[in-house]
């Protein structure tokens, strides 16, 4: 199937996500789609497969203009989207999963088991995989589950399969198997859109590559005609303007040191430290294990081994409560689910980790609490009419400020920020950056996980890069460039 997307525009509310994107997919080709997080890859593919509708632009399929109003319709027309989060029902058998929603039935409504089994076998043979059909899907490995999804796609005669980060959770052997299957599919004329951050893979199996940046296509080239470095440059190629307040760090003693943090399957042998007054940026691709490391430091997730030092003294942190006692604060990436109690007022949210200090013998001093909260609202310029407004009614930027206020109120010595400006508008971003500077001026040590490279470069005194759960490099502020970080983050040399 030949697909051509021309001049695609899409906005969500005021947020322009795609501006005039072009994308072309040839029959039987494996086409890499690359770009930073938020570049618009997923949106583009969601438009192709009918989840979203384009505001403007045309989609040509085999030369004819078409658009799909739902993923179901796209599927019926030969498009399958295999998401990063697999759509497998763990409690059902492999066979039941394969036919979920399109079971074969006879005239009485009974399932035609024999026919379904035969069909399923045929598909697995076509893919040259061997998974017991009666096994519960939840017991299959991630690689097998992926094969189930691919088989499902083939069963509806998909001619285009979109794979979003298909190898993110696979072992090396499973990846090899996946590549074999992809190769088989290509020979059978199926086109594949391969969304991935992993350079090595793209250069191994893809025919062409389209790079997207800031909701636009940079260009499309043959893999053979390009290089790692060129692709990275295209992905990040924007200038750093004065989006960041000037930073002059004066570093103190090491405030927090992480030694040999390991959790099987998530991260391995991670060691780094952060000094008082320093901002350490933590860069890496989505799923590289950055968030997991931070959560382990804070006692939120377990780890298998590793040591933690505060001001040179070894400490043990088993729960967030203990981390708070040691002067560590964590702002998680998911502020709605983990940062805030949306039903609570701003006052109650900000007071939550601080309320012990605002009370004596368990009784909260209402006046002191009021004052404490008002001060933080002013200090962080949270825009609200009253401290009693519930947090759920605030804008993203203001919500993030409430989370920050909550933790700044605890007077932490070490503050871990996971994606501190995600979903925050430009103005509020700058205010948050300024606040980070103010904090480090007072000697707070900051560890900042961010997927936005400009932010990492603009704010960090030092950058560490995580690649597939391992520390792949450390760069000083002077050394760090987008290209160098991207190379380290994608496992390049």
């Amino acid at each position: 199937m030949q697909v051509e997307m021309q001049d695609i525009h899409k906005a969500f509310g005021k947020n322009q996500v795609l501006t005039g994107v072009h994308f072309e997919l040839l029959p039987g080709e494996i086409h890499a789609l690359m770009g930073e997080n938020g570049a618009g890859k997923s949106t583009l593919m969601n438009i192709l497969t009918g989840l979203h509708q384009a505001d403007r632009g045309t989609i040509l399929i085999n030369g004819k203009e078409r658009s799909f109003s739902s993923p179901k319709e796209a599927e019926q027309n030969g498009m399958a989207f295999i998401h990063q989060e697999l759509n497998v029902w763990p409690g059902m058998t492999v066979l039941e999963n394969l036919f979920l929603g399109r079971e074969l039935k006879n005239g009485f409504g009974f399932l035609k088991m024999k026919e379904m089994k035969a069909l399923a076998k045929e598909q697995f043979e076509r893919l040259d995989v061997d998974i017991p059909l009666e096994q519960e899907a939840g017991l299959c490995s991630v690689g097998q589950q992926q094969m189930i999804e691919i088989a499902k796609a083939l069963m509806v005669n998909a001619e285009v399969i979109i794979m979003d980060e298909p190898t993110a959770a696979l072992t090396d052997r499973e990846i090899a198997k996946l590549f074999e299957v992809i190769e088989t599919l290509r020979k059978q004329g199926v086109s594949i859109v391969y969304i991935s951050h992993r350079m090595e893979e793209i250069f191994t199996i893809c025919d062409r590559i389209t790079v997207m940046r800031d909701g636009q296509t940079v260009d499309t080239t043959k893999i053979a005609d390009t290089t790692f470095d060129e692709v990275v440059k295209k992905m990040v190629g924007r200038e750093l303007k004065d989006r960041f307040p000037a930073r002059a760090a004066s570093l103190g003693e090491v405030a927090l040191e992480v030694r040999n943090f390991t959790r099987k399957g998530a991260f391995e042998n991670i060691s780094f430290s952060v000094r008082a007054g320093e901002i350490v940026g933590v860069s890496g691709l989505m799923g590289a294990g950055r968030t997991e490391i931070m959560r382990a430091i804070f006692g939120l997730d377990r780890m298998d081994s590793g040591e933690l030092y505060r001001n040179g003294k070894k400490i043990k942190v088993h729960s967030p409560g203990e981390a708070v006692k040691h002067g560590i604060g964590l702002i998680t990436e998911d502020r709605k689910d983990e940062g805030l109690i949306l039903d609570f007022s701003i006052r109650h949210n900000i007071a939550l980790p601080n309320v012990e200090g605002l009370s004596s013998k368990g009784f909260i001093d209402g006046k002191e609490e009021q004052q404490f909260v008002e001060d933080l609202i002013k200090r962080l310029t949270i825009k609200t009419e009253s401290a009693e407004t519930s947090a759920g009614n605030l804008s993203g930027g203001n919500q993030q400020k409430v989370v920050l206020a909550k933790w700044i109120g605890t007077n932490p010595d070490v503050l871990i920020l996971d994606e501190p400006t995600r979903g925050v508008d430009v103005g509020a971003k700058r205010e948050i950056y300024a606040l980070m500077n103010e904090l480090t001026d007072r000697g707070v040590a900051i560890v900042m996980v961010s997927s936005e490279l400009p932010e990492v470069l603009g704010m960090s005194d030092r950058v560490i890069v995580i690649h597939e759960g391992k520390l792949s490099g450390e760069l000083s502020r002077e050394e760090a460039t987008q290209e160098k970080i991207m190379t380290l983050a994608t496992g390049g040399e």
Binding site: F298, L300, S319, P320, G321, A323, V324, K325, L330, T332, D337, E338, G339, L340, I341, L342, D343, F344, S345, R347, H348, A351, L352, P353, V355, E356, S359, G362, F363, I364, G366, K367, Q370, E385, S386, A387, E388, T389, S390, K406
Partner: protein
């Protein structure tokens, strides 16, 4: 709650809805039968309400954390039997009541441990302990009431006496309300109770000891059930092995009628007191009006449905 004088509208509605319902109910019942308002009847009503109100206070804390406690009726029965047993064996009745209340708290703590350390769903954990505590009560009493509790004046006063003309159980209900209101709204424990129900994960990340708070909440529910058990024991001058059966349902109904969300995080203890009064008035008023006790259940059920439907509308 707020000192700045700015109170969210939803908070007001949360408070006013149940109160309005109570007023309307009082009006209807007193028009249909003016003897409802007779002082003696009102005092009688308050005494009847006390037991459910005490249990429902505890249930409010539990539901605010997003949990549920089905074992309160069984805790009432078991602690009542233990208190009576102690009295029969000659222990000072007031001391027996104190020990009984502590044992009630302990039974609640077991619930809390199962739910936190055992990671069981509150519904399942307390369904199991409901059966266990009831079974222990029946075993301990051999299925017979425990009588011969003596004629200690203080003990008799507890369930049957008057203080300044008000039945002592009603006084207990009011004192408990004030104490619990202060705990819920003025202490860190109360704040954490709301926070856990509002977003347990966020509360935990904020450094709150969720496990400890939850165990305390279930212990409090157990303690209050045992206190209600003490009142019942005094009133009946005996411990009944089947006491408190289905009391958990009346308590949950009172909490829900009071506008507290079963999802946790939202609700007020004043609402629960009002809810308990509404249920009490329904019982009392329908009796006065000569409605059969079988049909009373139908009316009670319908009132709960209407209250929750109105609440949904308000929320939407």
């Amino acid at each position: 709650m707020s000192k700045s004088g700015v109170r969210p509208l939803s908070d007001m509605a949360q408070k006013m809805g149940p109160l309005l319902g109570l007023i309307i109910l009082v009006l209807i019942v007193s028009i249909l039968n003016p003897s409802f308002l007779a002082p003696l009847n009102i005092l009688n009503l308050l005494r009847q309400v006390a037991i459910n109100a005490l249990i429902a206070y505890g249930m409010t804390f539990v539901i605010l954390t997003g949990g549920i406690d089905l074992s309160v009726g069984s805790i009432l029965a078991l602690s009542s039997a233990l208190m009576a047993g102690m009295m029969v064996s000659g222990i000072d009745p007031i001391l027996a009541i104190l020990i009984g209340c502590l044992l009630g708290a302990l039974m609640g703590a077991v619930n809390g441990l199962l739910i936190t350390k055992g990671k069981m769903a509150p519904f399942i954990a307390t369904l199991a302990t409901m059966t266990i505590y009831r079974g222990l009560t029946l075993t301990y009493t051999d299925g017979n009431p425990i009588t011969g509790l003596g004629d200690d004046y203080m003990f008799q006063l507890f369930g049957r006496g008057y203080f300044l003309g008000i039945p002592v159980p009603a006084v207990t209900m009011i004192i408990a309300f004030v104490v619990l209101w202060v705990i819920l709204h003025k202490t860190t424990f109360g704040r954490y109770t709301y926070a856990i129900g509002g977003n347990e994960k966020a509360a935990w990340i904020s450094g709150i000891k969720v496990t400890k708070v939850k165990i305390m909440v279930y212990s409090l529910a157990g303690l209050l059930s045992a206190l209600a058990g003490a009142i019942l024991t005094s009133r009946l001058n005996s411990a009944q092995p089947t006491a408190g059966e289905s009391y958990e349902l009346d308590a949950i109904a009172a909490v829900v009628l009071g506008g507290t969300s079963l999802a946790g995080g939202r609700g007020l203890i004043i609402g629960t007191l009002i809810g308990a009064l509404i249920i009490g008035i329904l019982n009392n008023g329908l009796n006065l009006l000569g409605v059969s006790s079988f049909f009373q259940m139908v009316v009670k059920g319908i009132v709960i449905v209407i209250a929750v439907l109105l609440d949904r509308k308000k929320a939407a």
